[in-house]
């Protein structure tokens, strides 16, 4: 059983009133039972995600590849986007390096929206930690696209693109940050969706806007100079830029910003859990 502990007291000062939130993080100890349930849901996510489609798991690779092709054609061929960072690997290679982390993130969040609602039948009848729905959905989606990323990197290597392979652990570390963010946001959107249907329509739109405001299709150097200092406030921009710098330039020198990024990613997950577990005892009432 989860034990409740007073982890922290956050007291944000809003304009006129003081809002005191007691963070009551129920540490759902990964008991053997919860672990079994998680494994069952995760396995089901993998078998069920593309179940009924002919090409099965291939879609997970095919869809991003198609997007890569479209963006590559439109921006690389028609608009002839050129910037120095992409010279070595070509526009497609440059795009691919940033696109898969984004897809792993946005697909995970998108699929998490329905994680609770899609399991309404179970919420109504069984007593299980609802967090499991979100974690299994997010992890399954994330791992699928991580595998796709591995394939794409392999293809780039076979094509003889000059990628700096010993920086691969840096990529893996940043993908871990992606997972933390996706899980944290996934928890929030899944809980929100139980209360508000609008989430299903609003979040995909927000994610599309987020995609274009992140330097994936373009390099940060093309942005107005006054925007660049604030770029790291967008966690996905921070991650994509770092991954490209590592793989293309072999550069990653952690500073206090990177420490803050790690702490912030963990904080997003913890806040997501707090948000979700505040709502989850009442899911049954609202579904």
């Amino acid at each position: 059983m989860p034990f409740h502990s007073q982890i922290a007291n956050i007291s944000p000062h809003c304009q006129s009133f003081e809002l005191k939130i007691t963070v009551n993080l129920s540490i759902t100890a990964p008991t053997r039972q919860n672990w079994s349930l998680f494994v069952i849901f995760l396995r089901r996510e993998f078998t069920g995600q593309y179940l009924g489609s002919v090409t099965s798991v291939g879609w997970a690779l095919l869809a991003p590849l198609a997007m890569l092709g479209i963006y590559g054609f439109v921006f690389g061929q028609i608009f002839k986007v050129r910037f120095p960072e992409a010279d070595a690997v070509g526009f497609l290679g440059y795009l691919a390096l940033g696109m898969w982390p984004w897809i792993a993130f946005s697909e995970s969040v998108n699929r998490a929206i329905k994680a609770v609602k899609g399991n309404a039948a179970l919420v109504h009848k069984t007593a299980l930690p609802h967090e499991i729905f979100v974690y299994s959905t997010v992890l399954a989606t994330f791992l699928t696209h991580l595998a796709g990323y591995a394939v794409v990197l392999l293809v780039l290597a076979l094509m003889g693109k000059p990628l700096i392979w010993f920086m691969l652990p840096v990529v893996i570390y940043h993908m871990f940050l992606v997972l933390l963010l996706a899980a944290g946001l996934g928890l929030i959107v899944a809980a929100l969706d139980v209360f508000l249907n609008d989430v299903e329509h609003g979040i995909p739109l927000l994610l599309t806007m987020w995609f274009f405001s992140t330097p994936i299709l373009y390099s940060p150097s093309l942005l107005p100079a006054r925007v660049i200092p604030y770029l790291d406030l967008n966690p996905m921009a921070y991650i994509v830029v770092n991954i490209r710098q590592a793989m293309l330039e072999g550069r990653w020198a952690p500073t206090w910003i990177d420490a803050a990024a790690l702490i912030a990613s963990v904080a997003v997950l913890l806040f997501g859990r707090w948000f979700f577990n505040r709502c989850s005892p009442r899911f049954e009432d609202f579904l």
């Binding site: 007691t22 399991n119 009848k125 007593a127 508000l196 005892p281 009442r282 009432d285």
Partner: protein, 409 residues
């Protein structure tokens, strides 16, 4: 011994939020995030105190909407109580309504793993138990189909098979036994009886007083979200049935008032000269049923008289029209009837006489008046009626009779 209770509810209440409007839902979300109670709610259950010790069987009865399912959901942990505390111990298995704990998109096999994990089995234990569960459920190749393609009977079979294989310390079931087919029901009731006699603890919601009395020692009657009566199963179920009779009697009275009293009706009914429930009629004695029937239009009505068992199972019925019996005319509107059932062959037990008034054409049934009676006696015969019979002493088989060696004759 306080800590030994499997279920312990103290002052439990449950409020459901009003959640139809988006603004209500948003306000509720805000309340939740601030950690305060939701403001706009409707109370479903209140002040429920309940202790269930191991080995007890408790039947929960009550009208639709009384809060029975909500109570079960609170105990299983699906819902969290708005007031009071819910404590449970041990492994809880639940069969709530149809498809309890099943994911409609998962196959039978996947749902087995899921449910077994929910009662706390490890993956290895689940794998070991799966063949047993599949055999008990006996649903053939449907086991690899998604649950949503199952018939309701198959869902219950699978659910019950999982419960049977995992033998929880506490079994909570909603009205589920009514769904399976005859042979499966038998299998379930037999399993339940073994479970209860083997020390299992059972919490059952049912509208069948027969099942409740058969399986439980104690009962809990919920009315409008509160405990109306609890205790010995017979006391509670009888009080509940009496409540229903009063309720339908009131309904009949208002019916009559509405119809201005001008309908065919049974005015009075006697068994062996008494108009109160008969405590004892020796088996094999005559049963004399007399009464007065009212006719609004001076035509002679048809009287139907039937004998039913206490649980309502019909045994025999006849009418003045079938038997071409003549009623006696008391005055313009009142007719007397008298039926003698000779040497009633009913076995000892509780029965009732039901009399109905019908229009002279025998088409429309207007009124029912029943009167309970008990047949007393000592008999170990089975069933509820003695058929005329005799055994032939030391019978000799004809040479033509073949002794069959197949048993399914």
């Amino acid at each position: 011994m306080t800590s030994q209770a499997l279920i312990e509810l103290t002052g439990v209440g449950k409020n459901y939020p009003l959640a139809n409007k988006a603004t209500d839902r948003l306000a509720a979300l805000w309340d939740l995030l601030l950690g305060r109670p939701i403001r706009r709610t409707r109370n479903i259950l209140h002040d429920i105190d309940l202790r269930v010790l191991p080995g007890c069987s408790v039947g929960i009865i009550g009208e639709n909407g009384a809060g029975k399912s909500t109570l079960l959901k609170l105990i299983t942990g699906v819902l969290r109580a708005s007031q009071g505390t819910v404590k449970t111990r041990g492994r809880i298995g639940a069969l709530l309504e149809l498809g309890a704990g099943f994911h409609p998109d998962y196959t039978g096999r996947e749902n087995i793993s899921l449910n077994a994990a929910l009662v706390g089995l490890t993956q290895a234990e689940i794998l070991a138990k799966t063949p047993e569960i599949i055999a008990f459920a006996d649903i053939g190749e449907y086991i690899d189909e998604p649950i949503k393609h199952y018939s309701s009977g198959m869902v219950v079979r699978l659910g019950f098979a999982i419960i049977a294989a995992t033998t929880p310390d506490l079994l909570i079931t909603d009205e589920v036994l009514a769904v399976g087919d005859e042979s499966f029901q038998k299998k379930c009731v037999k399993w339940l009886e073994n479970y209860v006699t083997g020390g299992g603890t059972l919490l059952i919601v049912s509208h069948s007083m027969y099942h409740v009395q058969k399986l439980c020692q104690q009962a809990l009657w919920l009315k409008d979200g509160a405990i109306q009566k609890s205790g010995d199963v017979f006391e509670v179920t009888q009080a509940y049935l009496a409540y229903h009779e009063r309720k339908s009697a009131e309904a009949t009275v208002t019916d009559r008032a509405a119809a201005n009293g001008d309908r065919f009706r049974i005015d009075s009914l006697w068994i062996n000269g008494s108009d109160v429930a008969q405590s004892s009629n020796p088996m094999g004695a005559d049963l004399r049923i007399q009464g007065v029937v009212y006719s609004p239009d001076e035509r002679t009505p048809v009287v139907v008289i039937g004998i039913v068992r206490a649980d309502g199972t019909p045994i025999y019925g006849t009418s003045s029209e079938i038997d071409s019996a003549r009623l006696g005319k008391i005055d313009a509107h009142h007719f007397s009837f008298e039926l003698v059932l000779e040497c009633i062959p009913l076995l000892p037990g509780a029965y009732s006489v039901r009399s109905h008034a019908m229009d002279p054409e025998g088409v429309r049934l207007f009124d029912t008046l029943s009167l309970d009676f008990v047949v007393s006696g000592k008999s170990r015969e089975l069933g509820f009626c003695r058929l005329p019979h005799h055994w032939v002493d030391s019978p000799v088989m004809h040479s033509g009779v073949q002794l069959s060696d197949n048993t399914d004759q």
